[in-house]
């Protein structure tokens, strides 16, 4: 069976989910299944099929599972959003049409992703520009204290969604160039005295600092990991060239924390950066230094920037009555947990959860964007929610598989970066909703309502498919044994 035929079969579960989901929601709301809504389902499936035909024509060798998995997620989201508000679902469907057009355009205009390497500095500049855009007066908009959105007349969009693609493309191409410099050189064994000095002095300093400042266990561990990684790094006697990009990106992430004041998105960007560094250089010491510096910086900002600080407080104790009553306090995360508690193992069924207060208004703020995972857990229970996470896991597995199959460094790093940033985005928002980490306003890819999110993720999917098409075609040409 060809890859494309497998892809076509993969769309069958999507059609089943769309039909069953819409029918269940309609029945729960005790409405007749009208022709109009049946049309929505049919149109959605038609669009999926259209996309499939386009891939069949342009990328015949691409991974057959990525596209149906994304369609499954989109169908999931569409049903949930329809259940929350039919009007929003109509808008979401329109965004999917535009998204699919952008998806096709990307594949059409970019037959070879290696072209991107040529424009990497332009792309990086655009990415950083997008990130700081929300801070500009007139167009920038502050939501819950974070600067994540841009408003241009009636159109509101979240530039961070597109910035993540730009940054990944830049990092992938930059690291492909410099990884040879960064890769560990063979080290000469040290004499006993040198070893004692190298490890002894920092250890002594570490103990002194911990005792002098009276650091707590968490801070001590953080500092310990930092010192250890730093020492390992120093032992390799790196030039400033080694540290240059690392410090630059770390500074950028911190700047982002200050500029957009959103822990979730900075975690997403910096996490993807560390993942790429690790894959490119296989050096844990750089990751260790970077991660501890990031966490330290985040902790410092968490104590100084009041918006970030309140996010921390509401995370630690969402049921504190004062925080619960406060504007922008813990009401949202507490309601998220209450909604999940109502779900149980199997959930209450599509359309059965409590969303609206009898007097009007909603009990679950931002149910269609930030908290959509809580609605899913409420209506489909632990099994439904875990199923959704598993779909993401399958998508991520196919993404990494693409990276494994790819033959050149840029393709590998690009596929890894795109996959990692998507996985991190899922972790940041689902982790926020389930109180693993502080809740921040990031969308659930392909599922949450939101135009920018859909468009950006459709481009992400297109890029992955392009990489995959090249990689699998190369592999098939060379044969499973690789280049001999």
């Amino acid at each position: 069976m060809s890859a494309r035929t497998r892809e076509l079969f993969g769309l069958i579960p999507v059609s089943l989910l769309v039909c069953a989901g819409f029918a269940a929601v309609l029945m729960a709301q005790s409405q007749e299944a009208s022709d109009l809504t049946a049309t929505y389902g049919a149109v959605f499936l038609g669009l999926c099929l259209l996309g499939h035909l386009f891939i069949r024509a342009r990328l015949p060798d691409a991974d057959p599972y990525l596209y149906p998995l994304a369609a499954l997620l989109a169908a999931f989201g569409l049903v949930m959003i329809y259940r929350i508000d039919a009007e929003l679902a109509r808008e979401q469907a329109q965004w999917f049409v535009i998204g699919l057009a952008l998806f096709c355009a990307t594949i059409y205009l970019l037959p070879d992703h290696h072209v991107l390497e040529r424009y990497r500095y332009t792309i990086a500049a655009v990415g950083i520009g997008l990130l700081v855009l929300p801070r500009f007066p007139l167009i920038g908009e502050q939501v819950n204290g974070a600067y994540l959105a841009v408003k241009l007349g009636p159109i509101q969009f979240q530039p961070a969604e597109f910035a993540k693609l730009a940054i990944i493309v830049f990092l992938a191409s930059y690291l492909r160039d410099t990884r040879d410099v960064l890769v560990r050189a063979r080290l000469k064994p040290l004499t006993a005295t040198a070893q004692a000095l190298l490890y002894g002095i920092p250890a002594l300093l570490f103990v002194l600092v911990v005792l002098a400042l009276g650091l707590g266990p968490l801070a001590a561990v953080l500092l310990g990991v930092f010192v250890l990684s730093a020492v390992t790094l120093v032992r390799e006697r790196p030039s400033l060239k080694h540290f240059g990009p690392l410090l630059l990106i770390w500074g950028l992430a911190m700047l982002m924390l200050i500029v957009i004041r959103d822990l979730g998105s900075s975690l997403m960007f910096f996490g993807a950066f560390l993942a790429l560094i690790y894959v490119a250089t296989s050096r844990l010491s750089i990751v260790g230094v970077g991660a501890t510096l990031f966490l330290g910086g985040a902790a410092y900002l968490g104590n100084t920037v009041s918006h970030v600080q309140s996010r921390f407080d509401t995370w630690l104790d969402p049921f504190d009555p004062v925080l619960y009553e406060a504007t922008g306090g813990s009401f949202q995360i507490a309601q998220s947990l209450f909604a999940q508690a109502d779900g149980g193992l199997f959930g209450q069924g599509f359309g059965q959860s409590l969303l609206e207060l009898p007097g009007g208004g909603t009990i679950l703020p931002a149910a269609h964007t930030d908290l959509i995972y809580a609605v899913i857990a409420d209506e489909l229970g632990l099994f439904g929610a875990a199923g959704l996470v598993l779909i993401y896991l399958l998508f991520v597995a196919r993404g990494f598989k693409t990276a494994l199959v790819a033959s050149d460094g840029f393709s590998k790093l690009l596929a890894t970066g795109l996959t990692a940033v998507l996985a991190l985005q899922v972790f940041v928002i689902v982790g926020g909703v389930t109180k693993v980490i502080p809740l921040t306003g990031v969308t659930l890819p392909f599922v949450s309502y939101g135009g920018s999110s859909i468009l950006a993720n459709m481009v992400l999917l297109a890029l992955l498919l392009i990489v995959s098409d090249h990689a699998r075609r190369d592999r098939d040409r060379v044969g499973p044994g690789g280049l001999v």
């Binding site: 947990l337 207060l357 229970g381 990494f400 890894t416």
Partner: protein, 485 residues
């Protein structure tokens, strides 16, 4: 690079595993505690779509709580209203989205919302198409409850009356009170919560620990008689002062009674005799009898768990202790740093009730039956024995001794014209002996006890006593309950 990519995937697996673990934590493992969280109003909101059943007084007629529809169509909700207001505020409680649920509204919530059991609810929804709540008939006597509330007016205190044979609580009055209709306004509720002086939201009948004073001598007497240490005719030393635990103890007014019978000692509430009796019985046995009376545990009342408090000997930190206290002083309703006897009014009514009921303590009840909207009785409470506190003969002896208290002792103010009453007075000095906590516990009629009662008033001026200030209130409530108006 491939090895690193695989490691990265492994890390993703771990992270997503954490997500699933946390999701199961909230949806399954901690779901129950989240549903019980005070801030979680989801259950209440769902319930407001269903008309709650009525809460009725024992006559099955007087409405204590009802649901009134507001809005229409999809927006229709039912809001609680309490026609009797403050009079039944404490036992009935309230049920509002903003304020949560308390009292019978909370303990009988399942019946009131028609949530009998999984299958019953499903069956009913299938057959009638709509969920509806059942009515709850309480054991509260509307006339006696109104009288008790009036009698307490102006004082802080509580009156609890119950039927010893069935455990039915007929009166549960506590002042200062509150109007449950008013707490749907959040500002009012906050003001009531903050009122540290009056504590109007506290149901003193079950939620406040007081020093019982001499009413506790009934418990000591029950232990001394039942263990055979003393008989009503035993001659005991009523001299004053006597040294108890190394410290001299006086009788009230330092009266020296000389050698007297145990019965006379109770009639005159002689401290030294009961302190000696307590020492004779010993702390361990006294605690055992207290436990049989229901001390050292929350009352077994059908009332929300968090809204009741246990009686017993508490140390200065407020913790219940079973030894290491001055048993002589505890035996007369006092104590010291290492242990002071503390009781709720309901507990003292149960003490009187156990004596009245031949030594058998019956579980107290606030709800009598649950009635479906079509008139079928869904559930009826039957008397359940909580403990056999003492032998029937002991109860008979103690009844005669308590009858003497009202006939010729400290409790004559509780006497009724046509019915014989048995009782015991109590006056505890509080706030460094600047104020009195006055008590009276009783039951009537002596030969066939129908009702047991406990009356207590807080912070009465010096010169007041249980006999003069609490006993007359008990007499009036008993008279009303016995139908003498």
């Amino acid at each position: 690079m491939n090895r690193q990519i695989v490691q990265l995937f492994a890390l993703t697996l771990v992270l997503f595993g954490v997500l699933i673990a946390f999701t199961s934590r909230w949806t399954v493992f901690e779901a129950e505690s989240l549903e019980d969280n005070q801030l979680n109003r989801r259950g209440l909101i769902e319930q407001q779509r269903v008309p709650r059943g009525l809460i009725l007084a024992s006559d099955g007629d007087t409405v204590l709580a009802r649901s009134e529809p507001r809005g229409h169509g999809d927006r229709r909700v039912y809001v609680r209203s309490y026609p009797e207001g403050e009079t039944f505020g404490h036992p009935v409680g309230y049920s509002y989205i903003n304020a949560g649920e308390t009292g019978i509204e909370r303990s009988a919530n399942d019946a009131l919302t028609g949530d009998l059991n999984e299958f019953g609810t499903i069956f009913r929804e299938l057959s009638s198409g709509e969920r509806e709540g059942d009515d709850v008939v309480t054991t509260l006597d509307p006339e006696a409850q109104r009288l008790a509330t009036e009698l307490l007016a102006g004082n802080a205190g509580s009156i609890v009356a119950l039927e010893p044979a069935t455990g039915h609580v007929r009166v549960m009055a506590s002042t200062p009170g509150f109007d449950p209709n008013s707490v749907q306004d959040p500002a009012t509720l906050r003001a009531l919560n903050r009122d540290e002086g009056d504590k109007p939201l506290i149901n003193r009948s079950v939620q406040t620990n007081y020093q019982p004073g001499s009413t506790f001598k009934v418990v000591t007497a029950a232990a001394a008689l039942d263990t055979g240490k003393l008989t009503p005719e035993s001659i005991v030393d009523g001299s004053s002062p006597q040294t108890i635990s190394g410290v001299p103890l006086n009788n009230a007014g330092n009266v020296d009674f000389g050698p007297i019978s145990f019965t006379t000692a109770l009639t005159n509430s002689v401290n030294t005799v009961f302190a000696r009796a307590g020492e004779q019985v010993g702390a361990r046995t006294l605690v055992e009898y207290m436990e049989r009376f229901g001390f050292y545990a929350d009352p077994q009342l059908d009332y929300p768990e968090g809204e009741m408090i246990a009686s017993g000997v508490r140390n200065s930190a407020g913790r219940l202790v079973k030894d290491g206290f001055d048993v002589g002083r505890v035996a007369i309703g006092q104590g010291g740093e290492e242990g002071q006897i503390q009781v709720t009014p309901l507990q003292m009514a149960q003490v009187a009730g156990a004596v009245a009921n031949g030594g058998k303590l019956v579980r107290p009840r606030l709800t009598e039956r649950v009635v479906a909207q079509d008139g079928r009785v869904q559930e009826r409470t039957t008397p359940a024995q909580q403990a056999q506190v003492m032998k029937p003969e002991t109860a008979e002896q103690l009844t005669q001794m308590m009858a003497d208290v009202v006939n010729e002792g400290t409790g004559t103010a509780a006497a009724l014209s046509d019915v014989a009453v048995a009782g015991k007075t109590g006056t505890a000095e509080v706030s460094n002996a600047t104020l009195n906590q006055v008590w009276f516990i009783a039951f009537a009629p002596v030969d066939d006890p129908q009702y047991a009662i406990a009356v207590t008033l807080e912070e009465q001026p010096l010169g007041t006593s249980g006999g003069a200030n609490a006993a007359p209130l008990a007499a009036q409530v008993l008279q009303t309950l016995l139908g003498g108006g």
